[in-house]
């Protein structure tokens, strides 16, 4: 009797056992190294938590309140916002131009695509060392050429008003190829018959771009811009390497400030609060972007 029911249940039961065994390694790893840290991050942010100390006083929302009154936090937030507002639109527009012009398969387009994709596969920190050198007023090539032409070279990274601009230009350099690749993938999925039909209806190149191409790649544009915004809000590598947040905190961003508080000052609780502020910002901006696109859908 029992053997019959056991046999009947055999299939689902083995799948449950197999399912749990297959999931086990990832479940343990995600539990210990993702979910527990997320919860712990929230817990830490509610404490006066210094890394080296063994006891941590519960302070409730004190870290978050301190954040609201911390001019260095607002400065970092402002720099991050300027960086994002400057890079993302340029990245999307240039990425779209490149995608439209380079999406057809020819020898020169595939060469160009590789060129624009190369920064994406290179280490940003390592290439930021190269950029720092390229932009250097002493030994950099551009400064030498300017001097050769009798012009006083600009020390980009040490001039308070220009350093963030340099960080933005280098950020664009790294990420245009990323946007381009996503948009090319989307463009190649647009059926050629749609364009032909539009031509037969008398649409010019601009009309085709506006009424066929753009609507067809809307989803890809949305995702490219959401990812570009998220990545911009998390800007870190080139700032750390090229300016360290200076001069005069003019390039300090949310993540470099978090790094400084968490791993420079070892104020884990305060750094966790900065991380949650970043999370909140990302959530709000992403939701806003999704809303704009959805609203236009109804049109």
């Amino acid at each position: 009797m029992t053997t019959i029911t056991a046999a009947r249940r055999a299939r689902p039961r083995t799948q449950l056992r197999a399912g749990l065994l297959f999931l086990l390694p990832s479940a343990v790893l995600i539990g210990v190294f993702v979910i527990y840290p997320i919860a712990n991050s929230l817990w830490m942010s509610l404490h006066d938590w210094t890394f080296f100390q063994t006891t941590h006083e519960f302070v409730g929302p004190a870290n978050y309140l301190e954040l609201l009154g911390d001019p260095r936090f607002w400065n970092a937030l402002g720099n991050t916002a300027v960086f994002t507002l400057a890079t993302v639109p340029a990245q999307i527009i240039l990425g779209l131009l490149l995608a439209v012009r380079l999406s057809r398969a020819r020898w020169w387009t595939s060469l160009m695509r590789s060129v624009f994709f190369f920064p994406v596969i290179s280490s940003f920190a390592t290439m930021a060392i190269v950029w720092k050198f390229v932009l250097s007023a002493d030994v950099g090539p551009t400064a030498a050429w300017l001097r050769g032409a009798g012009i006083q070279p600009i020390d980009w990274l040490h001039t308070p008003n220009l350093a963030l601009g340099a960080i933005i230009m280098v950020g664009l350099w790294k990420n245009i190829g990323f946007t381009m690749v996503i948009l090319i993938a989307a463009l190649q999925d647009v059926p050629e018959s749609l364009n032909e039909a539009a031509v037969l209806d008398g649409a010019g190149p601009w009309g085709r771009f506006r009424n066929v191409t753009l609507p067809s790649i809307r989803q890809a544009l949305l995702f490219a811009s959401i990812i570009a915004v998220i990545a911009s809000l998390q800007v870190f590598d080139q700032v750390y390497v090229m300016t360290g947040g200076g001069p005069l905190f003019r390039t300090e961003t949310l993540v470099t400030y978090m790094y400084e508080q968490g791993f420079g000052q070892y104020r884990s609780g305060y750094a966790a609060a900065i991380a949650w502020a970043l999370f909140l910002l990302i959530a709000i901006v992403s939701a806003f972007q999704l809303r704009i696109f959805r609203y236009r859908d109804v049109d």
């Binding site: 689902p12 190294f33 993702v34 997320i38 160009m112 290179s122 280490s123 920190a125 030994v139 996503i182």
Partner: protein, 287 residues
């Protein structure tokens, strides 16, 4: 661009104003391409120049002589062999473990039927939404509590699975026809055997895409190795080059040689397997 290569229905509309607009577009692209390629060209050419030449003629693009001394100095002036080894162990270790564990979990979520599966998949998706900076500070604490700071396991184990990888492979496994594993199941094959001998061989392109994605991200990663490692002997290339260039006086040419070498493995892989790089990136857009 010659007109004859365009589709037939587009040939009619090459008016002069269109040609000018098109030329402007091409000009912008060429300008942007020069901007993008310049740091790489500068890095490569400067890696062949002596420190004296860099200071005396900083504007010279082409080295006076192609001098390979910097490529020899990098191994003695810096513990570069060690940095390189650390990068290989870190990026290679994460890639092997993560592709294996990701594919196991993805197989369960795509092909097996058991209670709680939907919740498990939902949790995977939810962790994808959380920026990784949220976990950085507490992870540092966890790795410290495990006494894993400044060790390979501290670098590798927290990254030995990824929600993105599970998601990517699950989508691929879902698209494989059910008949294949049903046949194997009737023959009495175990689930692990079906996963190993039926699923994985079919999934080779997806596995290669994910492997390239993991290797590239970790080979290039800066923040995580910067946080977890502290000794000169445990740094990876990006963190090591950055910190050494700040702490010691190192010839610019030597640094550029190091940067060039660190780019080589990915550049070579990109040359031979470009589509896996592009697919990995394009998929992040679809997620």
């Amino acid at each position: 661009m010659s007109t004859s290569t365009l589709p037939l229905y587009l040939r009619a509309e090459r008016s002069p104003s269109r040609r000018i607009l098109s030329a402007v577009g091409t000009f912008v692209i060429v300008l942007a391409a020069l901007y993008v390629i310049f740091p790489f060209v500068w890095m490569l050419l400067t890696s062949f120049r002596t420190q004296e030449e860099i200071f005396s003629a900083p504007g010279n693009l082409i080295p006076a002589t192609f001098n390979v001394a910097n490529y020899l100095k990098i191994w003695t002036e810096l513990p570069f062999a060690r940095l390189f080894l650390n990068s290989v162990v870190f990026a290679g270790g994460v890639t092997i473990l993560s592709v294996f564990f990701d594919s196991l979990a993805a197989y369960a979520l795509a092909r097996l039927d058991f209670p709680g599966k939907t919740i498990a998949f939902f949790i995977v998706l939810a962790t994808l939404m959380v920026p990784y900076q949220i976990t950085l500070v507490p992870l540092f604490q966890t790795v410290f509590d495990l006494h894993w700071l400044d060790t390979y396991q501290g670098l590798i184990v927290p990254r030995a699975t990824s929600a993105f990888g599970i998601f990517l492979l699950r989508q691929f496994f879902m698209s494989v026809p059910r008949d294949l594993d049903a046949a194997a199941r009737i023959d009495g094959a175990s689930e692990f055997r079906i996963y190993w001998s039926v699923m994985l061989p079919l999934a080779r392109p997806a596995l290669a895409t994910l492997a390239v994605f993991h290797f590239m991200n970790n080979w290039n990663d800066f923040l995580w190795p910067l946080v977890v490692t502290s000794s000169d002997t445990m740094r990876t290339i990006p963190a090591g080059l950055t910190l050494f260039s700040g702490q010691y006086v190192i010839d610019h040419g030597v640094l550029m040689a190091g940067a060039t070498i660190s780019l080589l493995p990915l550049a070579i892989a990109f040359f031979f397997a470009q589509r896996y790089f592009v697919q990995g990136i394009a998929t992040t857009g679809i997620k």
